[in-house]
Amino acid sequence: MTKDDIRETIIDILSDIAPDDDLTQLRDDVAFREQLQLDSMDFLDIVMELRKRYRVQIPEEEYLHLRSMSSTVEYLEPRMRDLQKV
């Protein structure tokens, strides 16, 4: 998966988790929490969806990398580059 594929996957997951938010306006360098109505349960949803869709395991101490879209893609790229987008 490319970085664009990963970003697209995250957007797809967010569209389920935050269906009332407009994701077309998402700024990649700004924290998710500053622009979306997300709480800790929602971040766990992101972790769970990545686990379910791609079997990607994110240890709890590394959740901080999911702060923004940019940091999330950077963090996931080495872990997902060999995977096929589903």
């Binding site: 988790i17 269906p19 009332d20 109505q37 349960m41 379910k52």
Partner: protein, 414 residues
């Protein structure tokens, strides 16, 4: 005795919010009941396959964001919808109210089956590795969930909890709300019952294994309490929340009043897990009538509980005959014959469908009672079409459940 008590001890219904297989307003529910319209339809659910159910269709996002609907449970969504509508209907100045003086009391038959079944199924797709078990499971399945969702949605900081009372739950919620008002614990009570049970295959499968799940080639004919051809329960979804307040407060603010909860009773059979006990049911009704300061021949309508099972209907008919004898006044009807058994919502919803009789002077019928079971025959049962032109001052609403839990409430015209 409650009737004639000081105004602050008199509890009245000033708002109703509901969803039912016959519609999502009291007017729609009543119209369906008077028109003899069935709310039962073909339904399919995992493992059970094709069956029948009463299904609710309401605008889930009317009072909740899509995110909140996704986060919560179906029972929570129903409870939020009904509670908001009850408040609107009551005409309360909601934004000015002290929300710490509002209580939420919701009757449930069961809760958590839907989420647990879904999660176990989901887990099976991942080789039962519990890393894939949802973090939402606990907040969705705690027993207070539907009432808690109401408080979050409406900013209510008073007490909330649910009352697990099998199929007596709708009445039990109402009774709990009235008691808390009388104790002075709250000034407004959102009270009633909800059910998401059509979303759990276990309810259907268990009734089927028990030989108590209704079937009929015509879905509208499947729910037939007291009829010789009855063969079980049609499970239905539903919710009904009442806004209860003290008569003194309702009168002071000029609220419209649907009726006064003048009497109630709950008791236990202490005999069997599933088979009802007509003696205890009769005692429950008698106590409710007594606390209302009435006698059985002063009850105009009995909204019966009967579900369409072979045993249960006979037992309730026996209890009714013992309490009401051959009096010339009391009429009987049954709402489950229209839309099935709404489980935790049944008691509250069935009462709601009868309340308009104070104003429209009609007693809705019992559907599908074409050939009454001799043991269930009640001469003043209203069959097929409504009885019009009746002066209705009092309604007794029965709701009974497994493990021998009985409840009756008496509502009086104000």
């Amino acid at each position: 005795m409650v009737s004639g008590s000081p105004d602050q001890q008199r509890i009245v219904i000033t708002g109703i919010g509901l969803t039912s297989p016959l519609g999502n307003t009291l007017a729609d529910l009543r119209a369906g009941l008077l028109a003899g319209r069935s709310g039962v339809e073909p339904y399919e659910i995992r493992y059970v396959g094709k069956t029948l159910a009463g299904v609710c269709r309401f605008e889930e996002t009317r009072f909740q964001s899509r995110k909140d609907v996704r986060r919560g449970t179906r029972a929570g969504c129903i409870a939020v919808y009904c509670s908001n509508d009850a408040i609107l209907d009551a005409g309360l100045p909601w934004s000015d109210l002290d929300k710490s003086r509002v209580g939420v009391y919701i009757g449930l038959t069961e809760h958590g089956n839907v989420e647990t079944e879904n999660e176990v199924y989901e887990l099976s797709q991942y080789d039962h590795d519990i890393k894939f078990w949802s973090h939402h499971h606990n907040p969705r399945t705690v027993a207070n969930n539907p009432a808690g969702e109401v408080t979050i949605n409406l900013g209510i900081t008073g007490p909330h909890y649910t009352i697990g009372a099998a199929c007596a739950a709708g009445n039990a919620g109402l009774i709990q709300g009235a008691q808390m008002l009388r104790l002075g614990e709250v000034d407004y009570a959102l009270a009633g019952g909800v059910s998401e049970s059509i979303r759990t295959f276990g309810i259907f499968a268990s009734f089927k294994s028990q030989g108590a799940l209704a079937s009929h080639e015509d879905p509208t004919k499947a729910s037939r309490p007291f009829d010789k051809a009855r063969n079980g329960i049609v499970v239905a979804e539903g919710g009904c929340m009442y806004l209860l307040e003290r008569y003194s407060d309702a009168r002071a603010r000029g609220a419209k009043i649907y009726g006064e909860l003048v009497g109630y009773a709950m008791n236990s059979d202490a005999t069997d897990f599933v088979l009802p006990n007509p003696e205890r049911q009769a005692e429950c009704m008698e106590k409710a009538i007594r606390t209302a300061g009435l006698t059985p021949d002063q009850i105009d309508i009995v909204s019966t509980h009967a579900t369409g099972t072979s045993g249960g209907d006979v037992q309730e008919a026996q209890a009714l005959r013992r309490v009401f004898r051959e009096n010339e006044r009391t009429l009987y009807n049954n709402s489950k014959s229209f839309f099935g058994h709404a489980m935790g919502a049944a008691g509250a919803l069935e009462l709601a469908g009868n309340l308009p009789s104070f104003a429209d002077g009609a007693c809705h019928a019992t559907l599908n009672l074409t050939d009454p079971e001799p043991e269930c025959d009640l001469p003043r049962m209203v069959r097929d079409t409504p009885r019009e032109g009746v002066r209705v001052d009092t309604i007794l609403n029965n709701s009974f459940g497994m493990l021998g839990i009985n409840s009756s409430v008496v509502i009086k015209r104000v």
